[in-house]
Amino acid sequence: MISVEALRIEYGRGRRRTLAVAGVTFQVADGEFVSLIGPSGCGKTSVLLAIDGIIRPTSGRITIRGEDVRGVRRDVAFITQDAGLLPWKTVRQNAELALRLQRRPREGVQEILRSLGLGGFENRYPAELSEGMRRRVGIARALALRPEVFLMDEPMANLDTLTRERIQEIILRLWHMYRFTGVLVTHDIEEAVFLGQRIIILSPRPARVVEVIENPGMGEVGYRRSEEFYHVVVKAREILKSLEER
């Protein structure tokens, strides 16, 4: 279980001090998938980086399975907005990177690549791939760690509708297979609804939890075209709109 308690994050010092996150509390149960949505610049990425142990909270407490987070954990994987592929490494090298950095055996990467439809591209460089393939390599890299926790920071940004939906479905499928604990940060309302069992809505900076929408239908077959999906989207949109007008 991930537990975030009264998380507060400040950047800079003195006159340059910026309060990014002002007391955010939420829990994610083991095997649960939640999405985090909020206006741009509100502090979403900061929350995620704190959970990953990359930045140290100013105050508050974050635990994963009861242990305090101190630095990057081996059982947590992070996917960034643009997949963060290194252009000077081939697909395979990129997919193996996390394992290599943690000095873990690199087996199984080949299979993960194949299962994501990247078979045959192992020795290509990122520049030779389409955007959608690149995101999949990023997912393969994370998956190679066989993580218990998946943190995703806008992994579908800047993709066209169809590619976006295809990657969303891949993530959903993987979640069904591995039942990892997932936290998805996004600014796309439909995406948040499609991939969140709960949708946590954050306020403009400094981030606070404004509302948590339960979304029990998530993961059902054909959910994207259901009435329920549509209603949750409308509800989330209303809340976000009202936030901006405040």
């Binding site: 990057v72 960034t80 643009d82 252009p87 000077w88 520049a127």
Partner: protein
């Protein structure tokens, strides 16, 4: 392939322009101020053993200097550039020291490195060192944060960060800097060979070759052409090296 053709065309153009200039000046001044390219070639061939040995010495010297400059300037630049704190404190130092020409401190160079071969190599590489340092430093400051985040979230330590991200990311810019340095380095090489340390014979370097035969314009121009060749050689070398080390930059562009 096509590029080679363009280089050939350019070389031909230079050749023709040179011949034209020689001709015009000869007509105007009444004496062959600039020797014709073919007489320069003939003079070079006549003195081929000396010219060849001068070329080889200069090339070795230059290669050593370049190597030395990169071996020291690159890591230092990366480390200083990649850390905000080091950057703040060290970059003013770099910029304060950068404009001081090493040959102005000749006496101290002699004291530290003697009057032999070392001092020449050191002088050239000192100049190049700053070029590499400044370039590596600038490049390291411009690395996309998304690459850094990618390896940090995967649990990379500082060494791994340098190895997997910073070094490969700056390589293209460092190669550009190296190309720029070739021109400067050749100038410094010339100065080092003619202005400092043990005097050698014309076979001991293209600079000495040029100065020794200063009164024989055809021969001394053959030396100048040698310098241009030397520069070009290193250019080509760097090009090949870049295409190999940074091959990821050249994929997916046809």
């Amino acid at each position: 392939m096509k590029q080679a053709l363009h280089y050939l065309a350019a070389a031909t153009a230079i050749f023709l322009l040179w011949a034209l200039a020689s001709f015009v000046l000869e007509q105007v001044k009444g004496w062959p101020v600039i020797p014709y390219p073919w007489s320069v070639a003939a003079a070079g061939i006549e003195y081929l053993p000396q010219w060849g040995s001068a070329f080889a010495s200069s090339a070795r010297r230059f290669f050593l200097s370049l190597l030395l400059a990169f071996a020291t300037g690159l890591p230092l630049g990366l480390v200083v550039g990649a850390s905000d704190r080091l950057h703040r404190w060290f970059s003013p130092l770099i910029y304060l020291l950068y404009p001081i020409p090493p040959i102005a401190l000749l006496f101290f160079l002699y004291m530290a490195f003697g009057v032999g071969e070392t001092v020449k190599v050191v002088t050239v590489s000192l100049t190049l060192f700053f070029q590499v340092l400044v370039a590596a430093h600038g490049a390291a400051r411009n690395i996309s944060p998304s690459y850094i985040l990618a390896v940090r979230t995967a649990g990379a330590d500082a060494l791994q960060l340098h190895r997997h991200v910073i070094l490969p990311a700056v390589l293209p810019e460092v190669f550009t800097a190296a190309r720029v340095s070739v021109g400067l380095g050749i100038t410094m090489l010339y100065i080092a060979e003619t202005k400092l340390g043990l005097l050698g014979g014309p076979g001991s370097g293209l600079g000495v070759f040029i100065e020794t035969y200063a009164m024989r314009t055809d021969l001394s121009l053959a030396g100048v052409v040698g310098l241009a060749f030397l520069g070009l050689l290193f250019y080509a070398l760097l090009e090949v090296l870049e295409r190999w080390l940074c091959r990821w930059k050249y994929v997916g562009k046809g």
